[in-house]
Amino acid sequence: MAENTPYIPTHLLIPILKRLPSKALIRFLTVSKSWHSLITSPDFISSHLQHHKSLPSTLLNPPQKFLPNPPPDFYVVSTCYNGLICLFNSKQRKPLLFNPSINKFLHIVPPPKLHVSSFHAFVVLGFGYNPLNHDYKLVLIDFDHMFIWGDGIPPDYRPYAQVYSVNGGLSLGWKRVLFPDNFPLYDLSHISESCFVNNLIHWIVFRGGIDYMNDNGPGIMEFGASILTFDPRDDCFWEMQLPQELNQAIDPELCLATIGDSLVVVHLSGGEELGSSYSAIIWKMEDYGVKDSWNVLYRIKLPSLYGMNPNIWEKEDGKVLITTSMGTLIVFNVKSGSSSVFDGEVFGEHGYTESLVLLDKVCKASWLQ
């Protein structure tokens, strides 16, 4: 071979390094200053992400497994996107972006003031991505959930939304966004995590309340479950219809999820028609945005009542895997219609892609300063 060993030029180092798992790249930050700046550069982070997104996603171990000291009191509020998970501390009202594959957090300074200041204020978060400028966005909606159905909600207590851009950071801060004028948003699901799919953030919501716009004085509006969407590209909310059969479903029964790139809704019920104690019916929106394309994909008997996590995998061998909020994994056999609880260590928090996202924002080696 050649006398003088040839060494790879930088432009060829990128296609090699982008194929490495995040953990190896974190170690290789210490190879040299030039490797450090290559690995932490936004362009490299993006190439690495694109490569890993083209690979099949994996089950994510519980965040605790990555962390020597998991942040206490934080819970997951959104599906994982680009390897990022959005967590929220409901006591301190603090959002947090977490990339488990590099074990880095980005603390988000909460809005200076919540709209609903009462003791009963409830906060729901959403997390999404704007592909036009590679920005991550958080949407925080707060409302007072003491106003139960029938009481109506005075306008001042209606859900109030604020959006935060990670690229904009503190200089832009939180900005109010309005709900569509005629959308009687009454409550948001306390159970279902928000779900980012097809470039939109989705929440399970409930419409209804008092119609103050009625010419004949306030009237009670029809109650119904629905989907609220938020587009991080233009900061607009829209409503999307659930299958008609689910219009009257109540909060703990519904959960948003994804299968591949499709939006699905899991409907948990007593399951009398299945002759078992509990069941989950999984509805899939075959053509995104087309109301009539909601179809029942699976009817699954459950050995016990589980909250569902937004993770559903269809495997090639005719099995469907569903993670639950209890950390268990349900294995449903499509052919035989039987389901069982997978007994093992698989936690399966989310469909998960390795990424270095945030590394350019939170890496603070002393020599760089």
Binding site: P6, L12, L17, R27, T30, S366, W367
Partner: protein, 164 residues
């Protein structure tokens, strides 16, 4: 690929940086976009002479390997990249080489625009370095550590989990 001209070359001669000549048939040469482009250009000009393509960046040793790869892959259609037999052959082919050869082969695949070989080399190198220590990486890629001990320790401490 079909040229409007009547001329059609069946073989080309490729010259390595150390001045060795390799006669390569067109189908094999076409695995390299660089060689294919040269052939297409000549055919468009309507020349019937055997053309000589000098590759100033590739030694005979490495060129032999690239051509061995091209010969094997020329037997398979473009959409056969997932063919199990071919994948096995690719793996056995690269397994024989040390890092210096792999590096040279990667650079030659890049220079000769042989995309499938370039991807293959990058994946193979990535797979084989992912569990190496930082010290081993510096040796393989001939990199001088320009961190002070303190700077290196700081990054390590900040990411201690990745070093366990």
């Amino acid at each position: 690929m079909a040229s409007s001209s009547s001329s059609s070359l069946s073989r080309v001669v490729v010259k390595s940086s150390d001045n060795n000549l390799f006669v390569v048939n067109k189908k094999v040469a076409s695995q390299s976009q660089l060689l294919k482009q040269c052939i297409d250009n000549m055919e468009e000009k309507g020349t019937n002479d055997v053309i000589l393509i000098p590759l100033s960046n590739v030694t005979s040793n490495i060129l032999t390997l690239v051509l061995e790869y091209c010969e094997k892959h020329a037997d398979f259609a473009d959409d056969d990249n997932n063919n199990q037999e071919l994948k096995q052959w690719d793996h056995e082919f690269l397994k024989k080489f040390d890092y210096a050869t792999l590096n040279s082969l990667t650079m030659a695949a890049d220079y000769m625009v042989t995309k499938s070989l370039l991807n293959l080399c990058c994946q193979f190198i990535a797979d084989s370095i992912k569990d190496l220590t930082v010290q081993q990486i510096r040796q393989i890629f001939d990199i001088k550590n320009d961190f002070t001990p303190q700077e290196e320790a700081d990054i390590k401490n900040e990411n201690a989990w990745a070093f366990r």
